[in-house]
């Protein structure tokens, strides 16, 4: 391509538009020993943005498909990786353990409580006393039967847990809350689990997030928001091309989404996709967004995420 005098004004015009639309982009390099750019990854930020990126786990030297890894965060900035439905690793504390039943998913609340979905039950790992017999494989103790099949667990703001899955009776996909408050006592002190069903749809639900009152639910390319008690859900965000694979909600910043190709922010006043990367998983902890990049076995921390509210594009 060549530059002509005729397009110099266009060039300025373009520069302004580019500034308004994009202004900043950053390409992520890999770990120090390689000093190469991370392949197929780019960050796009508005000019003047206070958003910052930090490697929490730098890209691995030996590349891996990262298949079968479940990425979660607790409320204290600890990373939790699940593998093969059997093991759990907390790299921040260099701690790893297995459980004695195949799990489908697990979740951590903001306060650090760890729950598993396994064998049709919501359960936990009881404390293990240091009696010298610990094998590293811990027993799964069911708390209560899960309300649907193919269950996935999502942490919400304020210690909320969302459960989603498929109702075997009618084939519909449903979302429930299940938190400590859902374990209720009757007048005789007897305890039971009360799942509160929030949402039911014929379309497959791929993610849920929220604070228990306002819930965001992803189905295909669409994200809807539903306020408990109001008998309606509103269209909140629709991706132009990709299916939404994950959601993360921060009370101050708002809702973040990921697809097979990137991570973005969706706000009432607009949205922006700021990270292009393959098959990411996202989670929020302590007001920061964490992005797991499977192909690099890396975790990036995104700071000052409230800043996106002021820069999202119509």
């Amino acid at each position: 391509m060549t530059t002509t005098g005729n397009n110099m004004a266009s060039k300025k015009n373009f520069a302004v538009k580019a500034f308004l639309l994009t202004a900043v982009f950053i390409l992520l390099p890999v770990f120090a020993q390689c000093s190469q750019l991370v392949k197929n990854a780019a960050v796009l930020l508005p000019a003047g943005s206070k958003v910052k990126f930090n490697w929490i786990i730098p890209p691995a030297e030996v590349k891996d498909k990262g298949a079968g890894i479940i990425f979660k965060m607790d409320g204290s900035g600890n990373i939790w990786l699940g593998r093969d439905g059997k093991y759990v690793l907390n790299p921040n504390k260099n701690y790893m353990f297995g459980i004695d039943r195949q799990y489908d998913d697990f979740v951590l609340t903001e306060k650090g409580s760890l729950y598993f979905a396994a064998k049709g039950y919501l359960g936990y790992i009881p404390p293990v006393k240091n009696n010298g017999t610990d094998t590293g494989i811990h027993p799964f103790q069911p708390i209560a039967k899960l309300p649907v099949n193919e269950c996935r667990l999502y942490s919400g703001a304020g210690n909320v847990i969302y459960v989603s899955g498929k109702n075997p009776d009618n084939g519909r996909y449903e979302v429930f809350t299940a938190a400590g408050e859902n374990v209720t006592r009757d007048k005789n002190d007897g305890m039971k689990m009360v799942y509160k069903k929030l949402f039911s749809a014929g379309n497959k639900i791929s993610a849920a997030a929220g604070d228990g009152k306002t819930t965001f639910i992803a189905m295909d390319k669409l994200v809807v928001s539903s306020v408990t008690g109001l008998d309606k859900a509103e269209g909140f965000f629709k991706h132009s091309k990709e299916t939404i694979t994950g959601l993360a909600y921060d009370i101050n910043a708002g809702i973040f989404y990921c697809t097979a190709k990137g991570v973005g922010y969706a706000g009432k006043n607009g949205s922006t996709e700021f990270l292009a990367v393959s098959n990411p998983s996202i989670a929020l902890s302590g007001g920061k967004l964490y992005v797991y990049i499977p192909a690099e076995t890396a975790v990036v921390q995104v700071e000052n995420i409230s800043d996106f509210k002021g820069y999202a594009l119509k």
């Binding site: 780019a42 790893m96 005789n188 039911s200 965000f237």
Partner: protein, 382 residues
């Protein structure tokens, strides 16, 4: 490491909140760690913290009950019902942070001791409470008029037997466990980790579904929501197109393989498909400027330059230095080996490493040197 209310981790140690004595080392990251389970009798304590309990060895024995017709069994006190005030161990329990819940706890404990009115309970047993609990209870009682049946009475009577309830009898819920009755807190703790799974599952809580506030989303709702959302999501469309381009074709350019198709895609994304805007763009000269900047930064990175970015032509072009080892420094360096093996090759050797990691995690005397040694010996290249 001392266990805290917000962070239960492997190898943390619970200490008595009164005399600081080590009670137990917790070895599992779990929801069920309740420091109240490990109530401690400090030296010189004739009676344990709970009224009606005595000290047997260094642990409280509450099995004798009390003359008031009931006692709080510390071992089974799953929700800390005997405590009123937060402490370093259980201060984050939701009920402890809520005056309303504390009040409910106080009422329940009073009833357990045969008092319908918490004021009477405080009068009878206040002398055996810690001062903070005593004054908390007094304040709760003062601010809450106990309006239950028999308020003001001081009669001491045994608590009635508690019949189990089948939650499925509630017509407002959908039952998941037909015929299973509610479970008492103490029963939850009687499971045997070595018991068959079915037996453990049998001790779980009965489940019901409350559908009162459920929203049924049909196909028409879906179409309306799509239309509604599409109007709000244009920014994402533009930015995802450009970000995608930067991530794919930009990378190709750096490798000397830029494509015209990629350029067109970028201009499409920037213009939002508006042909006039697209035409006005002319050649994407600016993009070449960006390419050059990226190449410069890439070169700088390869030369070990740790500069985090540069401002060029009103744009901030930067990168995260590969030498920045993450904000958690040491953790990142140690984690990387574990994660590589965890994700690539979970071999028998790694499993052995897992066992050793468990040993280290369960030993309160373990140090970071042990962890380093473990990583060096058991995870290196496995």
């Amino acid at each position: 490491m001392t266990c805290t209310g917000t962070e239960y981790s492997a190898s943390c140690t619970l200490t008595c909140r009164f005399c600081g004595a080590r009670i137990i080392t917790v070895t599992s990251y779990s929801t069920s760690i309740n420091p109240n389970d490990y109530m401690h009798c400090c030296p010189g304590m004739a009676a344990a913290y709970f009224p009606g309990c005595t000290c047997a060895g260094n642990m409280p024995d509450c099995s004798h009950g009390s003359s008031a017709g009931g006692s709080v069994n510390v071992q089974a006190d799953t929700y800390g019902a005997g405590f009123f005030t937060p402490n370093s161990q259980d201060g984050t329990k939701a009920w402890l942070m809520s005056a309303e819940k504390k009040w409910e706890v106080l009422k329940r404990v009073a009833l357990d001791y045969g008092f319908n009115n918490p004021q009477d309970y405080i009068m009878s047993y206040g002398g055996q409470m810690g001062s903070r609990d005593y004054w908390t209870a007094k304040m709760l009682a003062a601010y809450n008029e106990f309006d239950g049946e028999g308020a003001g009475k001081t009669a001491v009577k045994p608590a009635a037997a508690k019949p189990r309830v089948n939650p499925c009898n509630d017509p407002n819920v959908v039952c998941l466990d037909e015929g299973q009755t509610t479970v008492y807190p103490e029963d939850l703790k009687k499971y045997d980790p070595a018991a068959p799974f079915e037996e453990r599952a049998g001790k779980s809580l009965p489940s019901v579904i409350d559908e009162k506030r459920s929203l049924k989303f049909d196909d028409e709702n879906y179409r309306q929501a799509e239309t509604q959302a599409a109007g709000l999501s244009g920014g994402s469309e533009k930015s995802s197109g450009l970000a995608g381009f930067l991530a794919s074709d930009m990378y190709s350019k750096i490798e000397g393989k830029v494509t015209d198709a990629g350029m067109d895609a970028t201009m499409d994304a920037l213009s939002g498909g508006n042909e006039k805007i697209k035409g006005a763009m002319g050649t994407a000269v600016e993009l070449y400027g960006i390419y050059d900047n990226v190449k410069n930064l890439d070169t700088a990175a390869k030369q070990g330059n740790e500069a985090l970015g540069a401002e060029m032509n009103n744009q901030f072009v930067g990168y995260l230095s590969g030498k920045m080892e993450g904000i958690q420094g040491e953790i990142s360096k140690l984690s990387i080996k574990v994660i590589q093996n965890y994700t690539t090759n979970l071999t028998e050797n790694v499993m052995q490493g897992l066992k050793k990691a468990g040993d280290i995690a369960t030993n309160p005397n373990s140090t970071m040197s042990d962890v380093r040694e473990l990583l060096k010996n058991d995870y290196n290249g496995q």
